[in-house]
Symmetry: C2
Subunit: 213 residues, 2 copies
DNA sequence: TAGATTGTTAATCGATTAACAATC
DNA sequence: TAGATTGTTAATCGATTAACAATC
């Protein structure tokens, strides 16, 4: 067990949720133990990579046996910070904001929706899963009073930077950014971008450059 | 000009949309030319990387001058396959499907929504931006008759694999997959995954492991 | 104990950065 | 022409894979 000697690369972090997903499936199938070899065949990655990745965080396996599925699942969940819950709010209550607000799987993982916000007066007062949509002018106070950890940003890109500043000033520590801009936040504030149009363009590239002559 | 001597890495492809975005902004600002150095400062990447990335696709610049913004913008758009339009359909007309269907920026880029589908009878006949929601049993015929290029998959993960098979059999060449499973498709069919919960877990990791002691 | 499989070191591969000759 | 900046080769860095000794 070493836990965080040096910074772990985002490449490794990015693979953890996928490990968790496959281990969850194995758990559901009632599989008790699995070797890196077996897992590598399922996931179509190398066994070497699995062992390397896991050993960044400590030795979770046992020679001659492999990994205990239940235990490894719990450990990866813990590493990912899923062993406790987060309070989150959604800023921008348009179609995408509402869709995310209605997504119950986040709740199951410990991400608890505490508020929804918009600038548009006609949306104020509407409810999403029992959560009232508030005006964004209430943001700073709300964040402080409700111990909000994560702000989901689903506003038009023109507004995103200004709102991000407000969020940072109000003490938000993480932004899940769906706006199509790069946010500039101080160190210590985490930003995770979901740039849907970038993703679609990658698909477009791969269509154009695949074997259709 | 070489254009595709050997496979270009997804790391490079993944950066192209961001280049396009910054060049679009420069264009809007009325900037006519830019050097890799200036662009690198804006984008916070190395000038070397910009030149390397671009030169995978040909020499778009001019020594002593830099790059013509308008020209480079057009070239990257072309490389990404944005110089022509695509027909797409959305399968799964829940909150997320509707949100994506309503997103007009895709349309502006040449991605044209042609159909929406669901299994739920109560949704059939509803309209999203003038597009009627159809039953998924109509999928195969619809895909063939309307020359659909891209299927957006926003169905629960339990259904995703089965529907993906139908799509592939119907001749779809690209799937934008929002379902939380890895699809197994034959070579030649492009899949681009958007795993929102994976993204949220990465954020969760980074919150848990940032400098908050 | 013998066999299996990890944890970890070493080798390889690929991607990023630096350097500079080519050239506008 | 001189200065600027690309395109490209070479050097470095980091990530992935292979190998194997440790050990359950």
């Amino acid at each position: 067990m070493q836990e965080q000697d040096k910074e772990i690369s985002q490449a490794v972090i990015g693979r953890l949720p996928r490990y968790l997903r496959y281990l969850g499936e194995l758990k559901d199938e009632g599989v008790e133990r699995i070797s890196s070899q077996e897992l590598s065949e399922r996931m179509k990655v190398t066994a070497s990579q699995i062992r390397q990745d896991l050993n960044h965080f400590g030795g979770f396996g046992q020679q001659g046996y492999g990994y205990n599925v239940e235990f490894l699942y719990a450990e990866i969940a813990r590493i990912l910070g899923l062993d406790h819950s987060y309070h989150y709010i959604i800023i921008g209550s348009g179609n995408l904001g509402k869709a995310l607000g209605n997504y119950l799987n986040f709740e199951r993982r410990g991400f608890l929706l505490k508020g929804m916000f918009d600038r548009n007066e006609s949306l104020i007062g509407e409810e999403v899963r029992g959560i009232k949509i508030r005006h964004i002018r209430e943001l700073p106070e709300f964040i402080r009073e409700n111990k909000i950890d994560i702000a989901v940003l689903t506003v038009p890109k023109e507004e995103a930077k200004a709102i991000a500043s407000v969020l940072v000033e109000s003490g938000i520590k993480a932004i899940w950014n769906f706006a199509h801009v790069d946010l500039n936040v101080p160190a210590g504030v985490q930003v995770e971008n979901v740039h849907l149009s970038d993703s679609l363009m990658k698909l477009s590239y791969n269509i154009s450059n695949s074997a259709n002559p």
